[in-house]
Symmetry: C2
Subunit: 292 residues, 2 copies
């Protein structure tokens, strides 16, 4: 912050830059005195389909990285925040209406600003993670049907324990050891890997898993979300008890019940609870070291 002044000292720390620096007013500032940064948003949109996590990706038509998959995204417009831009892109890319997209979970992940990450110009990208339920036909409704769900397993995104082996021991996964190769355009492998790790971790201590579910869901469906994201089978009785014992995670829909796959006993329905933070957390099992 504190643009032209530097900070407190008052010696006008404007970056010298190779920019079109005109007169740098001593008491004012010149909007165009800096090397231009483009500010964009990138979206890591996840869903759970067919028992595994999938990401919404876009096939690039032009250089650089023509033909490669990339994260959806776009520029931040002059009058909007990155958050707003991300929400707008999310609605466009999922093909949902603005009001429908407003209910989706959207969360800032982190910002990627390495100078060389786009070969054409300096682009600073604020990455967001979005979680959507398994929509019937989630692609862009109109012409932008180039968006597609792809399972993470086919994208060289490593599971955490593999990455930990590749890197050093108990690192919190800020590393780039998470993506096996360069499958996606730009640094999107890294972004997607970071986003996936964040989601995996957040399922433990937040009610995030319900964002993958439709408005009303059964505990079996919720368990499938956990199992898909963590890649671990869970004990059904214990899962059930933990979820119901966690205040604010889910709340029952009074009389409702539904069959799951045409088979078995009809299951009670639940809605997402209001609480975002879970106490106690719902820990995933094993994690190299202690048993289960």
């Amino acid at each position: 912050m504190v643009p032209p002044e530097g900070h407190g000292g008052g010696e006008g720390k404007v970056p010298e830059g190779h920019a079109r620096a005109e007169a740098r007013l001593p008491d004012g500032y010149d909007k165009y005195a800096f090397e231009p940064f483009a500010v964009a948003v990138d979206l890591a949109v996840f869903t759970v389909r067919g028992g595994e996590m999938q990401a919404l990706l876009i096939r690039r038509g032009q250089e650089p990285y023509a033909g490669r998959w990339a994260l959806p995204g776009g520029f931040v417009r002059p009058d909007e925040s990155a958050e707003t831009a991300a929400r707008r892109e999310l609605a466009e890319e999922t093909g949902l209406s603005g009001t429908a997209a407003a209910g989706l979970h959207l969360e800032q992940l982190r910002t990627y600003s390495e100078p060389g990450r786009d070969p054409r110009m300096r682009v600073v990208s604020v990455a967001y993670t979005a979680l959507v339920p398994d929509l019937p036909e989630p692609r862009g409704g109109g012409d932008a049907a180039h968006a597609q769900w792809l399972p993470l397993s086919g994208l060289g995104i490593r599971a955490e324990h593999e990455a930990v082996q590749a890197g050093r021991e108990g690192a919190v996964v800020d590393d780039r050891a998470l993506s096996r190769g360069t499958v996606l355009a730009f640094d999107h492998d890294r972004i997607l890997a970071h986003a996936r790790e964040r989601v995996r971790a957040k399922l433990e201590y937040t009610g995030l898993a319900t964002s993958f579910c439709p408005p009303e869901f059964t505990l079996g469906e919720l368990q499938q979300v956990y199992e898909a994201v963590w890649g671990t089978p869970l004990d059904r009785p214990n899962f059930r008890r933990k979820v119901l014992a966690t205040p604010g995670l889910v709340e029952p829909v009074p009389g409702a019940a539904r069959l799951t796959k045409g088979r078995g006993k009809p299951a009670a329905l639940y809605r997402a609870g209001g609480a975002a933070a879970l106490h106690p957390p719902l820990l995933r099992p094993s994690r190299e070291g202690r048993p289960a």
Copy 2:
């Protein structure tokens, strides 16, 4: 990302903007076709002194917000990443040499991009959190001695449970209910509150607390860090056992021992362990709801 192309579709989604948009080349792009964004870094630098968390702040000398405290920070230069810029600013502001500052914990917090956050122009700020030990004289060694440590308790930064009361129930504190008023310049109250909450949370499941300690420290000192950050007294025997039972948190310095305040039994010395992630986590007690 994917600057001038939009994404895959190929319809050149360049933001229209009130910008100096000249000819928008269909296959190329114009670096200056966008409203200029300034990209800056803001630093929330914390230490533990006198039994409480303190932040490094700077007194602003000019408008806007002249006379108010602000977070240290500065612009990202054309050839550096936000990470590099943050590291550079951290070294400048703490007065440490580059090599000494390289050892400090520095971590990206999140990015603030609301259009009106700086009244003068559009500034997108990537905020970082830094943790430093209680340095003897941590201010800028030279002329920039305007940086000062201030206890958070005097800045209207709420504790988590207060913020939770103010907001809704178990929210994960992405709210602005964390800062009581507007004490700092710009949106720095909010940034500082977010940073503090992150540090508090991260102490539970990472080895971050050692970043507040000198290279060699006693378990008593480490415990004081936890107690200061969480604002809760901890049971010494249990703390001791947990820390020593957590692989990679600390490692003993073979023969060393030191007195703590001239009094009592000399304590064994420890170094920070290599592990960043703790299993099992070191949970803080109570947290409104379950006892302790």
